[in-house]
């Protein structure tokens, strides 16, 4: 082409100008930070024992959309810890500076996580969804960022996705414990051991968590009650936050003369489900066992929640237990949280809160041993195997496979009951289950399909016998 040289020039100039404009815009946003890092602050040297720059923490929770009733209190728990620590002078004098991003679909969540790495976070507390932890953990491992996943507790994470984790940890109880706890609660509270036949309808959100809850509830029912006493009437898999009208599901459950509705629907899905179930009269004919119904902010569990169903808190923590009189740590936490946010904490708040303190404790211990601020890979040793007293009681991080880096604390399940003192429906009659009775012990070697816990229960539990 004869004009191509002029084209070339025009193209070049166009590219330069656009590139320049884009760079300028980018610099405008990023530069103050970069400038500060380069020129104002002295670079960290060996001599300097604690860096002077603030400590950046990445916080990423589902705080919008249907997951918000779950993610929002969790975020608040983390923020409470950050504010408390800052008010007390930070970690070894370093102020904590939160970098806040949104948790959405796995794809976007990973991208946001990467953006946080770009913003220079040194540790990370985040994630609600079981879809997201297996997506983010490999990136955390590669990037070497100490990451505490508050929830997203799928067994797959430390069994298959990152079987030998270095930088990723998880605070919440493992997911299998959730299904197992709920099923045990149902068997105990509803006296199912005495029934000849139990007709169960399952309704779970269609992703890892729901699938997992289904598998573990079902294996416990089958194992404890005996395979031929359990009949599955229906299985429904509504997409997470995709279904608002549960009418057809409920109708079909009732048509099948269900005794027990086993569900792991959570947040908005559960609210919609129970409200419609109330109107359809489902609770008059069937009993409900939920893994997670009371996991949202307690005051959102309104007093119209049906009473007397097995209420789960994700096998973790409820703000009334451990009882405040006998365990002041919980009392203080609940009071502070209330003062700051005007509501009661959830198991997510507790997890995120404890995670931040766990990091603080580990850094301080490492400082005691090393005499300086630890590098990420040095810090790991001080978290592995560590125990910390949190509001929920003692939390232990496992150091060996299987489920290395998984946090363990005793599980809890109860009965839903309206309490006039609070004006909302609370979790009452807590049944506390020692976590070691329902999870795979350290060093156990077995198949991991669908989860190790599933196979462990199948192989080691005795049929027709309650383990607790």
């Amino acid at each position: 082409m004869s004009v191509s040289r002029r084209d070339f020039l025009r193209g070049l100039i166009g590219g330069l100008i656009l590139g320049g404009a884009a760079t300028a815009l980018g610099l405008y946003v990023a530069a103050p930070e970069w400038f500060r890092r380069r020129f104002v602050e002295k670079p960290v040297t060996e001599v300097e024992r604690v860096p002077a720059r603030p400590l950046k923490i990445g916080l990423q929770f589902m705080t919008r959309g249907g997951g918000a009733p779950w993610g929002d209190p969790t975020f608040k728990g983390a923020m409470l810890a950050v504010e408390e620590i800052n008010a007390a002078g930070g970690i070894l004098g370093r102020r904590i500076e939160p970098v806040i991003k949104d948790e959405t679909s796995p794809d976007e969540t990973v991208r946001e996580y990467k953006a946080m790495i770009g913003e220079g976070i040194e540790f990370y507390v985040g994630l609600i969804s079981s879809s997201n932890t297996p997506a983010v953990a490999p990136v955390a491992e590669e990037a070497g960022i100490i990451s505490f996943f508050v929830d997203g507790c799928t067994d797959i994470l430390f069994e298959k996705t990152v079987p030998d984790p270095k930088f990723s940890f998880r605070i919440t109880n493992i997911q299998s414990a959730d299904g197992v706890t709920a099923a045990l609660g149902a068997i105990k509270f509803f006296n199912l051991m005495e029934k000849d036949k139990v007709r169960i309808a399952h309704i779970h959100p269609d992703y890892a968590y729901g699938r997992n809850a289904h598998a573990h509830m079902q294996i416990v029912f089958e194992k404890v009650l005996g395979r031929d006493r359990v009949e599955v009437v229906e299985e429904f898999w509504p997409g997470l936050f995709r279904v608002t009208d549960f009418g057809p599901f409920i109708t079909k459950m009732m048509a099948g003369r269900t005794d027990i509705v086993a569900t792991s629907l959570w947040a908005m899905d559960f609210i919609n489900f129970y409200k419609q179930a109330l109107a359809y009269g489902l609770f008059k004919v069937a009993k409900v066992v939920s893994t997670i119904s009371h996991g949202i902010a307690p005051h959102l569990v309104e007093s119209d929640y049906p009473e007397g169903f097995v209420a789960g808190v994700h096998a973790n923590y409820y703000f009334l237990y451990p009882e405040h009189e006998s365990y002041p740590l919980n009392k203080i936490f609940v009071e502070n949280y209330r003062k700051r946010w005007g509501e009661y904490p959830t198991n997510g708040s507790e997890g995120a809160y404890t995670a931040v303190y766990l990091y603080k404790a580990a850094v301080e211990r490492a400082y005691g041993a090393l005499g300086r601020w630890p590098e990420a890979d040095e810090l790991i040793k001080f978290i592995e195997g560590a125990s910390i007293y949190g509001p929920a009681g003692i939390l232990t991080i496992r150091a060996r496979r299987p489920n290395k880096h998984q946090g363990y604390k005793n599980a809890i399940v109860g009965i839903s009951k309206v309490d006039p003192r609070y004006g909302f429906n609370i979790l009452a009659n807590p049944l506390r289950i020692p976590i070691e009775r329902i999870t795979v012990p350290e060093g156990w070697e077995g198949r991991e399909d669908p989860t190790m816990a599933y196979n462990w229960i199948r192989e080691t539990w005795r049929e027709g016998e309650l383990p607790v």
Binding site: S4, G11, A22, G120, D206, R211, L240
Partner: protein
Amino acid sequence: MVRREIGNNIRSIVIVAVIAGLLYPVISSIMPGWEVMLTYGIILAIAALGFNLLFNYTGLLSFGHAAFVGLGAYAVGLSVKYIGLRILEVQVLIGVLLSALLALIVGFIAVRYRGIFFAILMLVTAQILWGFYVKFYHITGGTDGIRIPRPTLFFIYDTTGLGYHAFNMVYHYYALLWFTVLAIIMWYIVNSPFGYTLRVIKDAETRAVALGVNVNRYRLLALVISAIYAGIAGALYAPINRLVTPDLAYWTLSGKIVFMSILGGTMYFLGPIIGALTYVYLETIAQRITIHWYLILGITIIAIMFFMPRGLLGLTELEGFKKMARLFSALRLQFKF
């Protein structure tokens, strides 16, 4: 039709590629974390190039290009999951074949329609695939998606051992290579007799029919080529994202591809490329400024549609810019550089 010279020659493709190559280490040293966007940008640019072959050169608006992107990505994901295949080039080939097949099947019907009907048909196709990925949990992993291990490049280069940053860098140049080759091929396609015929069909369909052109066959071929580009983009997207989820077939991604092309200027060959690169940064910057960044995105789209219908490259046609270009070329003649 006014001839759009700027950004419509083969050298500008090379220039963009070279800039994208040089910029990577620069960005990663001064603004760490921002360099990954460049990789996402050039991969999405491949999909946008495919989109624009349909939109600008054939006159068909596809609101469902995510169907092909998703198919390419799931070709990688499923081949890893079920046959343990990790050689990326072979996976891309599978993605290409699947996309082309889908385009042939859908296109057989879709090319008979224009405008809104074509757009909806493509959208529906993408949504069906999306529904499949979401619902068939046992095959596709549902919304959890499929994790992608590090790929083997060029049949022999196993990237498993590389660190996070090293892999990102290697993969960037690998993707850049694909981008450059594909963009140059696309340039030849739109400037070939085939490309000119497409433009005749777009501007004056009746005339094309009168000239004895089998309009639908040309449209079908354009759709297949377009789908192949989107499929390749999807396949390349999987390893850098480490995860394949139904999001990659969701209509919001289709919307993003449309927006990228519009942003850059669909009238220009280079438009979708510039658009994709700008978009990924625009998104990141907007996210930093405010948590309500979608608001900014929405307003920007509307502003561009109303006030800058030719997109960013349309700015190069402003008088001021032309004056500067003339000045520059005068200087060049003066000093012979």
